[in-house]
Amino acid sequence: MKDDQPSAGAAAVVLTGGKSSRMGRPKALLPFDGEPLIVHAVRRLEPLFSEIIVVAAAEQELPPLRRGSGQALPVTLVRDQVAYQGPVAGIYYGLQEARGAIGFVTSCDVPFLSLGLISHLLSQITNYDVVVPYWEERLQPLFAVYRREVAPLLKDQLESGELRPISLYKKVRTREVGPEEIRRFDPEGLSFLNMNTPEDYQAALKRWREQRGPAEPAKESASVPCTVELLGVARLRAKTREVSLALPQGATVAHVFSALAEKLPTLVGPVIAPGGNSLASGHACNINGRDFVRDLTVEVRPGDRIFIISADAGG
């Protein structure tokens, strides 16, 4: 395999097709910082990659891959040809799709990834076929850089039932990046902090809020305080009557739903649509008891009271 200068033009490959069985609902749809987790992941990677490939299972539900403004994200979506074959399949399908020679592979459930660390991993590929971090006593194949040329080997593995990615590493030139090297870019190794259970998810949300904490006072004066009143199914599900939110200036109704979904994940599905920024069918939104909202881009004003109610007033 030849050497080159590959990191420019590298693709990011984001795997989303896992079963999320311990989480109990699809990870890609989990609300995070006001947007679905997959959108969050893509946006985080965007500064570093000219090409982003999302690999999903054949029938998997995904939210619209759009920014808050509604603009589509520059994403290529690939569907697994055979569902749930594990990470080898995801890496294979993603690399196959890459236009360039190199792919950085990650999953969608690592919200604290360090772009500095990723840049370093990419820079190490020059004389290797795989660059994989070693963290907490194990290799991290879903936060690693692969040459597209290893794809045929992955295909062979799939066919022979070798479903562990690390089997590949013995067959090609693999560079392991150890903990000390990692800490130079990501002192706590937060890049490897993924979410497999609802508890992981809640902990990640908490961490995210804490991380943003120092910036909050500056934001505070520019924030839009509002209150969401929950009625009917929403109230019974959430076990609370109202929620106070502080949204960024210019926030829309869609932001309200996202922030609410983040605070009350139990509403996602029954009341808030998967994806987090709109209501599930059968529910309606009214601002201040006056205006029923049909347009999600309606801006929220300071002091607004936003009612989440059943859309059907029959009875």
């Binding site: 009917g232 059907d312 007033a313 029959g314 009875g315």
Partner: protein, 604 residues
């Protein structure tokens, strides 16, 4: 014929005779079943100008093409007659096993005239499949005075037939309370006083035991659609009905300033939280229940402090709660139980009592003052409900409904009578729901939220709910036509949002049931035809333009509280909306139906 039996059973109680009449396919296709077929039969069978309590006024029960097909929410039947409350058409729906048994009895409709002496109940049941059912007139003196529930149990016991299904009246029907219901399995054909018409005929109950299965044209096709609708019925669209029931409306309406309170003096209730569906669910929930073959199962039974279970839905909660200023959930549960036992329409009962409370507080009704009847006082309120059903004392006046009671009382009391065409308003405040205001004003059966779901436009953001205009006319007409098709197929309104294209999907379903080749346009036309015939019946019975109007309070007082504070309804606003409605209907500017329109709809 698929989907129908093609038979009308005509019963004359005076002569204790019956006859079978073939129902022609053209009538069934033009009006379907349920409300549509009932309206068509009423128009043909009722002598013009008939008195509602006259033996000649037909009391018509109808089934419908979708009943018994397995499609969720379709176990419903209709009762149609001339209303003793309004003097116009009364068309009421009820549901569950009685509906299925009516279809299995091998008929599409029963039209009952005459008057039995002494009181009877009817037992209708076939001996073998394919045979016409036997009609028996059975002694009912021992059932007189019994509640519908007791009557049902006694009839089952004496017939020694656990599978028999019974619809019965309670004391309110027997005593000709003008808003008495017909009850089956704890449910009611509730509005317009159909139970009083049954009582006027000395008919205590109808018992059914059928064994005639009706065939559908494409069983596999019907099953496939039924399965699809079953799945849709379990989605988030129906979550309100499945997880809380209609009592969920109360808190929402309170926040939106649309909860009629203290006889429409306000549109918010200070004690709404205690009566909210959410609080009831958290504090008193006992059981979820549903009609036969329904997947949504919207009914909620709540446990009172005595341990008794009581059904409660929004209209009952509103009418026996905020409308009368009653804040104690226990009192509302007790009142609802009394209405069930006596067979009283809870909306008209609450509306009439709220009128009496206001009259008492204003010094216009001394007898009510003596009884201590006033807003928020539970004990005299509960006593008055019993008095109405028994027509004892003040109850005799209140049993007439608010319009007649106000006419008898005189003075300014008519100002406080909150009715349209004599029917008390349901729990939707017209001043803050302007499309619904129009729907109430023009509805053929009086103030009604079921024959016109006009509130949907107000709650959707499609229109400004606080301001009316002529455009609402088209919305109300479309809503009425939609309701008429639902009520004639019959499909429960709580399934309506599970259709992606209601008319197209219903036409396909009806085609698979009947073997007809129905289009969505044909069904739309059916809806318009049914509403036009209802209006035509009313015109024949003396309808005048002033009957399409709202109570003066709504036009004279702005709302004093809540998010709609300061909002009123002006005469010109209402006139403009009514004009828009007549125009959308193709009627003349006074609301009469031109011959051309009648011919266009096959009614000329």
């Amino acid at each position: 014929m698929y989907g129908f039996h093609g038979r009308l059973l005509q019963i004359d109680l005076t002569s204790r005779s019956h006859r079978w009449v073939a129902l022609e396919e053209t009538r069934l296709r033009a009006f379907l079943g349920g409300i549509g077929l009932g309206t068509s039969l009423l128009y043909d069978l009722a002598p013009g100008g008939v008195e509602p309590f006259s033996p000649a006024n037909p009391l018509i029960f109808t089934t419908a093409p979708l009943v018994g097909t397995g499609l969720t929410t379709t176990s419903k039947f209709a009762v149609v007659t001339k209303s003793p409350l309004t003097g116009f058409i009364a068309d009421s729906l009820s549901s569950s096993f009685f509906a299925l048994e009516l279809k299995r009895a091998g008929l599409d409709a029963i039209a009952i005239t005459g008057r039995a002496e002494p009181p009877v109940y009817l037992m209708i049941g076939g001996k073998e499949s394919g045979e016409l059912p036997v009609v028996e007139f059975r002694e009912a003196r021992h059932l007189w005075g019994r509640s519908p529930g007791e009557t049902e149990a006694l009839i089952r016991s004496e017939l020694n037939h656990g599978g028999v299904r019974v619809a019965a009246i309670g004391q309110a029907g027997e005593n000709l309370v003008r808003f008495a219901t017909i009850s089956n399995e704890g449910r009611h054909a509730g509005r317009g006083g159909v139970g009083a018409v049954m009582g006027s005929k000395n008919l205590k109950a109808i018992a059914l035991s059928g064994n005639s299965e009706v065939e559908v044209a494409d069983p596999k096709g019907v099953d496939a659609i039924a399965e699809m609708m079953r799945e849709r019925s379990l989605g988030t669209v129906t979550a309100k009905y499945r997880e809380i029931g209609t009592v969920a409306n109360l808190a929402v309406f309170n926040r939106l300033g649309t909860l009629p309170t203290r006889n429409f003096q306000q549109s918010t209730f200070d004690h709404a939280e205690a009566l909210s569906g959410e609080s009831l669910t958290e504090n008193s929930f006992s059981r979820r229940y549903g009609c036969a073959s329904c997947t949504i199962r919207c009914e909620r039974l709540f446990k009172s402090l005595t341990g008794a279970e009581q059904r409660l839905e929004y209209e009952t909660l509103f009418a026996l709660g905020p409308l009368c200023g009653i804040e104690d959930p226990e009192a509302v549960l007790q009142a609802a139980r009394l209405c069930d036992q006596y067979g009283l329409d809870t909306i008209s009962a609450g509306g009439t009592l709220a009128w009496a409370m206001e009259c008492a507080e204003k010094g216009l009704l001394p007898e009510a003052q003596r009884l201590g009847l006033r807003f928020g006082k539970a004990e005299p309120f509960l006593e008055a409900l019993s008095a109405i059903a028994r027509r004892s004392g003040l109850g005799s006046l209140l049993a007439e409904g608010s319009r007649r009671a106000a006419t008898k009382l005189g003075g300014e009391s008519a100002y406080w009578a909150m009715h349209v065409k004599g029917m008390e308003l349901p729990g939707y405040e017209p001043r803050s729901l302007k499309t619904m205001a129009l729907g109430f004003a023009v509805s053929p059966r009086g103030a009604c939220h079921n024959r016109s779901g006009a509130y949907e436009a107000d709650f959707s953001g499609e229109v400004d709910r606080l301001s009316g205009d002529a455009r609402r006319g088209g919305l109300v007409a479309a809503s009425e036509d939609f309701a008429s098709v639902l009520d004639s197929l019959i499909v429960c309104k709580f399934l309506r949002k599970c259709f992606t294209d209601f008319y197209a999907e219903s036409a396909e379903l009806l085609s698979k049931v009947t073997g007809w080749s129905c289009s969505d346009a044909e069904l739309r036309r059916v809806g318009e035809r049914i509403n036009t015939l209802k209006k035509l019946f009313n015109v024949r019975e003396g309808w005048q333009p002033e009957d399409d109007w709202l109570p003066p309070r709504l036009l004279g007082e702005a709302l004093p509280t809540g998010v709609a504070q300061g909002v009123g309804l002006t005469v010109s606003e209402l006139r403009e909306m009514i004009g828009g409605y007549y125009q959308a209907r193709g009627w003349d500017k006074n609301g009469f139906i031109p011959e051309k329109k009648l011919r266009e709809l096959g009614l000329g």
